[in-house]
Symmetry: C2
């Protein structure tokens, strides 16, 4: 498996399936882990950071976490490859732009990724399509157990797993769910949904995680603290209480739209698909905006010319890093806009 | 011939032919005339205005100005019919909204229209497709001569024809040419063209004449004064100097766009056509904007799925009055937007 293979598809987690996939794009769980008896990364010198990276790379590759894995030495990777991994949600922006020894292990289906020497020594992540947190939690526990047989984790009998940032102490677990809420946006009820999220002590972010705004119609909700609750409890709250509430809000808003303003829904969905099929130049932002409206059209049964998998994949594959990786060269903004439009037309069978 | 027949087509002058029709939509000449020995309209009482209207209606209908003519008593006409006549450039807005006795005679091909009791007793107008002022001036002179055998015009040996407003004294002639200048707009050179028009002492107006802004990419240029020049001189200046200059500017800008930014031209033209073909709701303003870009695509040879005649007709037939007349009922704005979108899709063969 090579890194370039990643541009061929969009990862298992974007296939547009799984529970409540009409509203929930994907579910993600990550665990923060550190080695016992070794300082946190920020307290290590370059040599020690290098030793940690070498050791963890070896142990992870030997642990057999998946049939096929790829290890990327981020410090040695090119800028485009680093951007690609960020766009695919396999590493964080911080991990891409840091300068110390670090890496990431990725399973070939991209459902599992383990960052080495991010903020913590280990950041284990599991991704799923739709609201499949039950499967995600059992998978990440399996990976965590596999690694724990080989590594001695920093763990405190009272506080739990010790982490570089106090907000992660305890389970070290963060659950994030990516929601598509175009109808709530269109009816103006999205602010109400945000307030509800705030009351549930959830953080809201944009499509590309921490530091990105919740633009367009995509919102990532995640827990803010991990202390004082068990892994199962955090996941259960997401799975049975919080996310189903958002899904119910959005579904009701979609039904109301189709009932009361069906022509407006048809208008927006059809215009958006037509633009994606004919544009010769298109920006990332406009692409996201149009894909979102097409997705709404498909999910309300008003549009049947495209499938969810294609739409979900286009969200990812039209990002700057992917276009450049697919064409194997760095492109200026205007050239990217042309390459993006051309790629979209081909994928939508319009060329 | 009935007024309702007017909604079936768009008038001979919008057929997208004639000299320089890639830039010049249409040419218009009008003459202001008043009866000798009768006060100007504003100085007449209601009874005298009525007498003038009755007399002129009879004389015009008897004069044989065209094979088939329609006389519309504007004071008796419904609001929708009056709006329809304004949209088709057959009467002025002022004529539509006034309340005194008045009318208009229209030839069945709409190339000739004679308003009775507008600002002057008579306003004769001739319309042509493209820059066909030579034909227009000879036709309007023919009509003027026909009427002059029956009517005694107010004429002063030194000043010429006497009119209600001093700016029309002399020949009483106004030439207006409707230009489509999308490339100058896109390249930002339109301001330069406006300054040139100002230097030539031309007035610039929007698509629907006096009181409308020059929005979109359509501009109507016309002479501001008529005194001191002969009819032939005014027309010759438009025909051989002023309009060809604008046409040359616009054509050069189009060539430059295709040479340097062909992808942007393709992008705009194709997106616009796609939107017109798929929208379920569309405003008049957006329709004009999109049609303008489609027209640019056709005129630069980058788009061949639509003909100029259809585009020109849509400019007119998508106006509120036409939609309502075609559907034979008054519609609210949202319903008009739906009817407009549906009509456009049908005309573009997209439904």
């Amino acid at each position: 498996m090579k890194l370039a293979d990643l541009t061929k598809g969009a990862g298992e987690w974007l296939r547009g399936a799984g529970p409540m996939h009409d509203v929930v794009i994907s579910s993600r769980i990550r665990l923060a882990r550190n080695l016992a008896g070794v300082p946190f990364l920020a307290q290590c010198g370059a040599e020690q950071q290098n030793e940690i990276e070498q050791r963890l790379r070896r142990e992870i590759l030997d642990a057999g976490i998946a049939n096929e894995v790829l290890y990327v030495d981020i410090a040695a990777a090119g800028e485009l490859d680093r951007q690609l991994l960020v766009a695919r949600h396999l590493i964080s922006r911080q991990h891409a732009t840091a300068s110390h020894p670090r890496g990431v292990t990725v399973s070939s289906d991209e459902t599992c990724a383990i960052m080495v020497n991010e903020e913590d020594h280990l950041r284990i992540q599991v991704l799923r399509s739709g609201l499949d947190l039950a499967d995600a939690i059992s998978d990440i526990m399996r990976v965590d157990d596999l690694l724990e047989t080989r590594l001695d984790y920093a763990f405190h009998a009272k506080y739990g797993y010790l982490t570089a940032c106090p907000t992660n102490v305890g389970t070290g677990l963060r659950v994030s769910v990516m929601l598509h809420l175009p109808a709530l946006k269109m009816t103006g009820e999205i602010e109400k949904a945000f307030r509800a999220a705030h009351d549930m002590r959830l953080a809201i972010r944009g499509l590309f995680g921490e530091g990105t705004e919740a633009t367009g119609d995509f919102f990532q909700v995640s827990n803010q603290t991990t202390l004082g609750k068990s892994e199962e409890q955090i996941v259960r709250e997401f799975l049975t209480e919080m996310v189903p509430q958002f899904v119910a809000y959005e579904r009701r808003a979609r039904e109301a739209l189709v009932e009361r303003r069906v022509v407006a829904v048809d208008d927006k969905a059809r215009r958006s698909l037509a633009l994606l099929r004919t544009a010769r130049l298109i920006s990332t932002d406009e692409t996201m905006y149009l894909l979102s409206l097409v997705r709404l059209g498909v999910n309300t049964g008003r549009l049947d010319e495209v499938d969810l998998k294609t739409i979900n994949e286009l969200f990812l594959l039209t990002q700057p890093a992917h276009l450049q990786k697919m064409l194997n060269k760095k492109l200026e903004s205007e050239d990217r806009a042309e390459a993006r439009a051309s790629y979209i037309r081909r994928r939508l069978g319009a060329d």
